[in-house]
């Protein structure tokens, strides 16, 4: 099963995604939660805590850093740069914009 949660700002996407992920995990499914927001907060809703959420290295940054050997697969990326949230949900953050620079909307 692959689900993407979308909607207007403030409508409850992150909360919905987090509850879905933990519910599937509790039912015994292996669950990956992907935070694709450039202002990633899914960790907080999953119950990972503020500090751990802020400390997550984004997969994109990990790819750009170029200091480590390339991960061999998507599974490897999630394994190396993800975090484990309550109920065993694995969380990975795709990209975050850290600092101001010009660009598209």
């Amino acid at each position: 099963m692959k689900i993407a949660v979308v909607g207007k700002g403030g409508s409850g996407k992150t909360t919905t995604a987090a509850v879905l992920a933990r519910t599937y995990a509790r039912r015994g499914h292996e669950t990956l939660a992907l935070d694709c927001d450039t202002n990633p907060n899914l960790g907080i809703s999953l119950g990972l805590g503020e500090d751990a959420t802020e400390a997550l290295v984004t997969v994109r940054d990990a790819l750009d850093a170029g200091e480590e050997e390339h991960a061999s697969s998507a599974d490897d990326l999630v394994e190396r740069f993800g975090a484990t949230a309550p109920d065993g949900v694995r969380l990975a953050v795709v990209s975050a914009i850290q600092n101001p620079e010009p660009g598209c909307p």
Binding site: E50, A96, Q98
Partner: protein
């Protein structure tokens, strides 16, 4: 006054920005309201009936530069002219300009988007106040879509996710050319909530807006808060924000 509202999705940017602009306009100022969110929202909070009024495709013309296709305002059209011609008139005399809404993957939004950018590069002068509403999150604020602002107002709720977003947005303060970044503590329920916002974001708090069911009710009705409930506590708080910012933003 030139202000841009930023913050996490759902923090209350549009409700506050719409009310803020109306309060300024009702005080007799010429106010241009800028909505660069590709999802509808600010029109309703402002009390403008049309939710999708982006700039027309022919506001810009194509030209080549270094072998690349680029867009500029069409010959003879200035930013001020685009505002006069295309900004929608709203209640209390506000003028409202939108980025234009996302029309689906098969629709090319690039001309309205470039037109909006070019107007941002050539906004009317200091006899206008400008109130902008940016989409939730850090993407647009970090990509200079609020570059007209003399003040960024980061709208923050007393929740960890909103505080974390506020902390990220506080990095705007460290970037060049941004004179002022302040927090607005929104949906306050406890006396120490504004202190939590100050501590959690590291920003000065311009003012606090109480949790007010009238805001949610106005949203539910699709009406401007100022029209639905002019005596609401949140409206009074926004009036205080306007006054507080008047004394903090350098006179233009």
């Amino acid at each position: 006054m030139r202000v841009a509202f930023v913050g996490k999705g759902g923090a209350g940017k549009s409700s506050l920005a719409g009310t803020f602009a109306r309060v300024l306009a009702a005080a007799g100022e010429q106010v241009l309201v800028l909505d660069s969110d590709p999802m509808p929202g600010l029109a309703l909070s402002l009390g403008v009936p049309s939710v999708d009024t982006g700039l027309p495709d022919d506001a810009v013309e194509e030209y080549q530069e270094g072998g690349r296709r680029r867009y500029r305002l069409r010959s003879g059209l200035t930013g001020q002219g685009a505002v006069e011609q295309y900004a929608v008139a709203g209640p209390d005399g506000v003028r409202f300009l939108q980025l234009g809404k996302a029309r689906g993957p098969r629709w090319d939004n690039s001309r309205p988007h470039w037109a909006f950018q070019r107007v941002l590069d050539d906004l009317p002068g200091d006899d206008w106040s400008i109130v902008g509403d940016l989409p939730g999150g850090t993407r647009q604020p970090f990509m200079t879509w609020g570059r007209y602002a003399r003040t960024y107002l980061v709208v923050v709720e007393p929740t960890p996710a909103s505080l974390l977003s506020g902390r990220r947005l506080a990095r705007l303060a460290a970037s060049r050319g941004t004179p002022q970044v302040l927090a607005v503590a929104n949906k306050m329920r406890q006396p120490d909530d504004p202190d939590r916002v100050a501590a959690g974001t590291g920003l000065d708090v311009l003012g606090a807006v109480p949790f007010d069911p009238a805001v949610a009710e106005a949203d539910r009705q699709g009406r401007a808060l100022l029209d639905a409930e002019p005596a609401a506590p949140a409206v009074a708080a926004v009036r205080s924000l306007v006054e507080a910012l008047r004394s903090r933003e350098a006179p233009s």
